[in-house]
């Protein structure tokens, strides 16, 4: 009891001092160690709470965003895969796998297809509904025969080197897809054609568009927005 109280007091005193120092300091970096510590702790809690049975449920009658579904990319111009320049688009699945895969869009469409109406949660605070069609990342992992070294997975694309790495548990969620269809049509370049990652279990920025590589890895390797200061976990 006394110990708890004392520990609480020490902790609160430390955090208050830290925050006030940071708030008053011209250089807010002095709070960074504390904020990073909190991010680590939160990550562990978020991963601990994560369940494959916790699904995003959108009512059958809920309207989809349709044309209003926001579009974004980080290249100066919308990335479009040009077969004349880049050859046939392929999804390379590699890393900690026994059977590396190189899938054309046709190959991808032959794998078990899932169609789901789900939320897209943007880090900015909005959410938008769409009906996505594609292959579960867990099915791709099974086809590639991932090894025990596959603790993380990196999703990389041809949008100026955009990539984001994920924890395995989130990637293996049944609602995490490599999607090639949206609202009943093939993906358009605005939404990441030919294929993209889409999952309601991660914030939008973790869902790599213009996908070309899925790499299973023993360690995480950050990501486009994670490296700039956004949370690496970015889970919902």
């Amino acid at each position: 009891m006394t110990l708890d109280r004392r520990r609480f007091l020490t902790m609160s005193a430390a955090s208050i001092t830290g925050s006030i120092l940071a708030a008053c300091d011209k250089n807010p970096d002095s709070a960074q160690p504390l904020l990073r510590l909190a991010e680590r702790g939160n990550e562990r809690i978020e991963a601990g709470l994560f369940r494959h049975t916790a699904m995003n449920r959108v009512g059958a009658g809920a309207p989809i965003a349709g044309r209003d579904f926001p579009k974004y990319f980080v290249s100066p111009r919308m990335p479009v895969w040009d077969p004349a320049v880049n050859g046939v688009w392929r999804l390379e699945v590699s890393g900690a796998v026994r059977r590396p895969l190189s899938l054309t869009l046709d190959d991808l469409m032959k794998l078990p297809r899932v169609t789901q109406k789900v939320d897209h949660f943007c880090v900015e605070g909005w959410n938008a509904r769409a009906t996505w069609s594609g292959v579960r990342v867990s099915d791709i992992a099974r086809a590639a025969e991932i090894t025990n070294d596959a603790q993380y997975v990196d999703f990389a694309g041809f949008d100026k080197g955009y990539h984001e790495s994920w924890d395995m548990k989130s990637a293996m969620h049944p609602q995490t897809l490599v999607a090639y269809g949206m609202d009943g049509y093939l993906l358009t370049p605005a939404h990441g054609a030919p294929a993209r990652v889409h999952s309601p279990v991660k914030l939008g920025y973790k869902n790599t568009k213009y996908l070309t590589r899925v790499v299973f890895m023993p360690a995480r390797n950050g990501g486009f927005w994670s490296d700039q200061g956004y949370e690496w976990y970015g889970g919902t």
């Binding site: 925050s19 807010p28 904020l35 939160n42 949660f121 959410n127 949370e231 889970g235 919902t236």
Partner: protein, 245 residues
Amino acid sequence: MAALVKRNHWVVRLTHWVNVVAVIIMAGSGMRIFNAHPAFARPGETFPLNPWDGRPIPGWLTLGGWLAGARHWHFAGMWLLVANGLLYLGFLFFHGEWRDIVPRRGDARDAVEMIKFYLFVRRDHPRQGKHNALQKTAYFAMPVLGVVLVLSGLAIWKPVTLGFVTALFVNFKWARFVHFVAMALLLLLALVHVFMVLSVDPYSLRAIITGWYDRARSPEARNARPFYHLFGTAPSAPPSEPPRP
């Protein structure tokens, strides 16, 4: 002449000031997060309940600098807020101080009397204990709003993993709206609280710092309204607050 009583336990004083820091961090960073998409409407929809939908909050009120920075502040500050809130509520429950703020029968009538007094409809300050009925209502509403803020916050932090919490608020959009409105109400109550402390009972500042309160200077003893009878002590009638161990 001073009728000193120990009014606030050290746990109450500590949690009060920690809460000031925590609420500033949470509200400041929360408003910065809000400004990344300062609307409740989903893309392509409208949101008639917010006439300012789409208009951001002035930047000087916000904390964190940019969206990612503010999110780090928010997700670190939330633990300070929750730990401090649990300590406060636990203390209130086990030490009996909840009786000072939980509404009971007669509070509505007493609140009406206080309003009449503040509006000069009634001449004498109504009799009261530690707090008057309006104070009690405000001090009770604050932790209630705190609980709403924590629940709606969980609902928008983990709308899939904790989807059942999100469902309490219908869906993500409405949880975000509730989170925002509860924050605005809490800040409003805090502003009114500071105004009333300074204009009616500045002597209570001592009670929330050292714990000691001079009952001879209570608003009831001074017959004090905002900015009225700010100074001086009781002319005759003894204050009604019972001594506290």
